[in-house]
């Protein structure tokens, strides 16, 4: 209990630090105990019920005891393609327990988790905060053996990845997989050059330059960055904030992981420039929990920048002060939505807010806040390093510059590609070495599943706008299992606030399973489509508004697969399944349904 009190006082009883406090409490005790909840509630003067509400919202909190080693195995679709099932069974065998349980000896706890940003090196898992990639049965056996010998997780890593993954403060086996270096993110860069150029201008001039460059948000929504900064700046308030959204949770995206590993200065510099433009003194890097392994390194980079005068008081010798602090999530996809992210950064449940008011009007702690994607901020830095005209010359007339793509799935060279906007999918497929491609999922689970007919489409804001997740499926893959994975993902990650997303996604999934099991009729296809449109139209935030996309886009682009599955003649209630209805009875009596049928 003493340690809990110490943790709370270290965070100065700051409500906005609730997630950090809970995280440390969990690390100290292996769970968030009843006493810890009581102590935290009393210190922060909030009710127990509210603390419990926060704990239960985030995936990586547990109020139940966990083992010495807590394993979170990624359940993304790419992980499944890379042999996740075998790894999962091996883990269960070694731990002698199922997922969601702790081994009888209290050594290992197994959990599933949504995409952890390692799609290019699956199956991957997080064990006590340490990332393990490219797992197989053999490796599982070895790791479990080491656990029985009480070896520290960090010591289990045999070989570090490339670049800063090898840094003393990272020591991760993660590989960068940078396959194509483009001129912006991976082009010439020297810390401070861009910032110096920006500080020569008035804040309005900085915004103007970003507008001239026609920079649009790189997270997926594509909102014009200059306009966002301008709106934020115009709001009268004593405080303004810059938030860097490093909560990349869209299945299949991992570009921000690589950016924060290899170009953190460029990102932070972009935050300083944004701060100068909007009139902020504080920037927050909201780092997804899965990337906690980068936190110490990022803090070290920040300290370096401070030493060199790019951060802190009187930046670059000018009358401008700016600080950056790092806040971490605790596992919730919805926190990638900017208003949910702000709620989470304030130490609350990550429920999205109603908009308007938008974060630029009413953001962090009620003050005007610009929330920008990691890549957007890094790109902004380079726009000042090299000039807006240089930037504008790349890409297409509408979509200027380059885009980082996170490519995974069935191809020879999964990884990061920095390409100019305007590349067609076909060109991309040949670049990454994809053959016999059946489908390409562009933009993650919330994006679109395209068939060959769409491979001529261009990656740009006026055609295929994307945050950069590209998952490739070859002709051996089953569309239904892809859709199933994504639907489960949305059911898991919905915050549950609004009816269509909370209740509707479950109904869609059930209907989908009916169709997938061959019991659907033509009216089921019509209904699932209608329900999907309803959820998209009436949901409260971007999550719900895109959650039916896996079904809707495959219904459009792979309609024949659905048509084949349905019973075209049926004009009765076809969902009754005799075999399933007597399943329990069969288990009790030890009979097999099929045999009975033959005998009769």
């Amino acid at each position: 209990m003493d340690s809990i009190k110490k943790i709370i006082s270290r965070y100065k009883k700051d409500r906005t630090r609730l997630l950090d406090i809970l995280k440390e409490a969990q690390a100290a005790e292996g769970k968030i105990s009843d006493q810890a909840i009581e102590a935290v509630a009393a210190a922060l003067q909030i009710s127990r019920a509210e603390v419990e509400g926060v704990i239960s919202f985030y995936h990586f909190f547990s109020d139940r005891p966990t083992g010495k080693y807590v394993i979170y195995l990624n359940n993304s679709v790419t992980s499944g393609m890379a042999g996740r099932e075998k790894v999962a069974r091996a883990l269960e065998k070694e731990a002698n327990c199922r997922f969601g349980q702790t081994s009888p000896d209290g050594l290992i706890t197994l959990f599933e988790t949504s995409c952890i940003g390692m799609n290019d090196q699956e199956p991957a898992a997080i064990i006590n905060g340490v990332i393990f990639t490219s797992l197989n049965e053999e490796k599982v056996k070895k790791i479990a053996g080491q656990m029985r010998k009480n070896i520290d997780v960090q010591e289990m890593i045999e070989e570090y990845g490339d670049g800063a993954n090898r840094h003393d403060l990272v020591r991760a086996m993660v590989k960068n997989h940078i396959r194509k270096e483009g001129p912006v993110i991976f082009g010439d860069y020297q810390t401070g050059l861009g910032l110096n150029q920006a500080l020569k201008l008035a804040p309005e001039g900085v915004i103007n330059e970003i507008k001239k460059a026609n920079l649009m948000g790189r997270g997926g929504a594509g909102f014009p960055t200059g306009l966002k900064w301008e709106l934020c700046r115009k709001e009268k308030s004593s405080e303004h904030y810059v938030v860097c959204n490093a909560d990349e949770g869209e299945p299949g995206t991992f570009k921000d992981r690589v950016l924060l590993t290899e170009r953190p200065e460029m990102v932070f510099e972009g935050m300083v420039i944004a701060g100068y433009a909007v009139g902020a003194k504080l920037g927050i890097l909201y780092l997804r929990h899965e990337y906690t392994y980068l936190k110490r390194y990022l803090k070290y980079i920040l300290e370096n920048m401070r030493q060199n005068g790019f951060l802190g008081k009187k930046i670059a010798g000018q009358n401008f002060d700016f600080e950056i602090e790092i806040k971490s999530g605790a596992g919730a996809y919805v926190c990638g939505e900017e208003s949910a992210l702000i709620e989470s950064a304030e130490g609350k449940r990550g429920d999205p807010r109603d908009r308007p008011p938008f974060p630029v009007q009413n953001g962090y702690l009620g003050s005007p806040t610009t929330v920008n994607n990691v890549e957007t901020l890094a790109t902004a830095t380079q726009i000042f390093t090299h000039g807006s005209a240089w930037f504008r010359a790349m890409g297409t007339s509408v979509s200027a510059g380059t885009k980082l793509l996170s490519v995974s799935g069935d191809c020879d060279r999964p990884g990061i590609y920095e390409v100019e906007w305007g590349l067609t999918l076909k060109e991309l497929l040949s670049l990454v070495g994809a053959e016999e491609t059946l489908a390409v999922q562009v933009g993650g689970a919330s994006g679109q599943c395209l068939s060959e007919a769409g491979f001529g489409r261009k990656l740009c804001y006026s055609d295929l706008a994307t945050g950069g997740s590209v998952i490739i499926f070859n002709k051996t893959r089953d569309i239904f299992s892809i859709v199933r994975n994504f639907l489960d993902f949305f059911i898991e990650e919905s915050c549950g606030w609004c009816t269509p997303c909370r209740a509707g996604n479950v109904l869609i999934k059930n209907k989908f399973e009916k169709i997938a099991s061959g019991l659907g009729t033509a009216s089921d296809l019509a209904e699932i489509e209608a329900w999907g449109k309803l959820i998209k139209a009436t949901s409260r935030c971007g999550l719900g508004q895109t959650s039916p996309n896996p079904v809707l886009t495959t219904l459009t682009n792979f309609r024949e697969i659905y048509e084949k599955k349905i019973n075209k003649e049926a004009d009765f209630r076809s969902e009754f399944d005799l075999a399933r209805s007597v399943e329990q009875a069969c288990q009790v009596t030890g009979r097999k349904f099929e045999e009975e049928r033959e005998d009769a």
């Binding site: 019920a49 449940r349 919905s494 549950g496 009816t499 909370r502 209740a503 109904l507 409260r540 969902e575």
Partner: protein
């Protein structure tokens, strides 16, 4: 900018104060937009989505969306009614709502909305979820009937703003979570307020029931929304 904003709903024109939501503006001209999560005097949260309307082809929640000048709003059009009805049906299928056995029958807003929109049976399969009934000093919380509207969360708090009711879990498992210690201190009046503010029969005061017979209750005589439509 003009002090009053011009708008129209289904062809009916009106003026309303700046800063009003679409729901509030509609009330001013006697147009009823159905709400379930919204309650007068509480900060709207836009959770039930029953008040969804169409403006320029865009769906908006009228309880949270501020009115703006010249808005042309679709409220009682076939498409809006269709979606609204579907959301009510979703709620009916999601929980366990057995009206004949419920103390709130006749005073229940979900039931009243279902009647108003002529719902005989939901188009969605009943989920029959397994949910708990919890007992607290002075009241019961029946999760079978809860629609996650958060009215109790917003309305019933301690004097220093601590939440006695708070949301727990997420997605399909999201529930109202009661702070036992704080709930024990609720006065009978506060409990009555909690029960009255609950749009369904999820919060029930103990030791009283059926004080007003079925047949003489709020929505037994006239459909929900009549009080607004009668005001013109």
């Amino acid at each position: 900018m003009p002090e009053k904003l011009k708008f129209s709903i289904d062809g009916r024109e009106g003026l309303a104060d700046q800063g009003m939501t679409i729901y509030e503006a509609a009330r001013v001209i006697g147009v009823y937009i159905p709400v379930l999560c919204h309650y007068e005097g509480l900060k709207p949260v836009g959770s039930c989505r029953i008040c969804s309307i169409l403006v320029n082809g865009r769906w908006l929640a009228s309880c949270t969306q501020p009115l703006s000048e010249g808005m042309v709003i679709e409220n009682n059009t076939p498409q809006v009614i269709e979606y609204r009805r579907a959301i009510i049906e979703m709620l009916l299928a999601e929980g366990n709502h057995f009206c004949p056995a419920c103390e709130k029958s006749g005073n229940c807003e979900l039931q009243a909305l279902a009647y108003r929109y002529g719902i005989m049976v939901p188009r969605f399969p009943y989920q029959f979820p397994q949910r708990q009934i919890e007992a607290y000093p002075g009241f019961l919380l029946d999760h079978n009937r809860c629609v996650q509207c958060q009215r109790c969360v917003r309305a019933i708090q301690t004097e220093d703003g601590q939440k006695i009711f708070a949301m727990k879990n997420r997605s399909k498992d999201v529930r109202v979570n009661v702070d036992r210690k704080l709930a024990a201190k609720l006065s009978p009046d506060q409990i009555q307020k909690a029960m009255d503010i609950c749009p369904v029969g999820a919060i029930l005061k103990k030791e009283v029931g059926f004080l007003r017979p079925i047949g003489q209750r709020k929505y037994d005589r006239q459909p929900i929304g009549s009080e607004i439509e009668g005001k013109k």
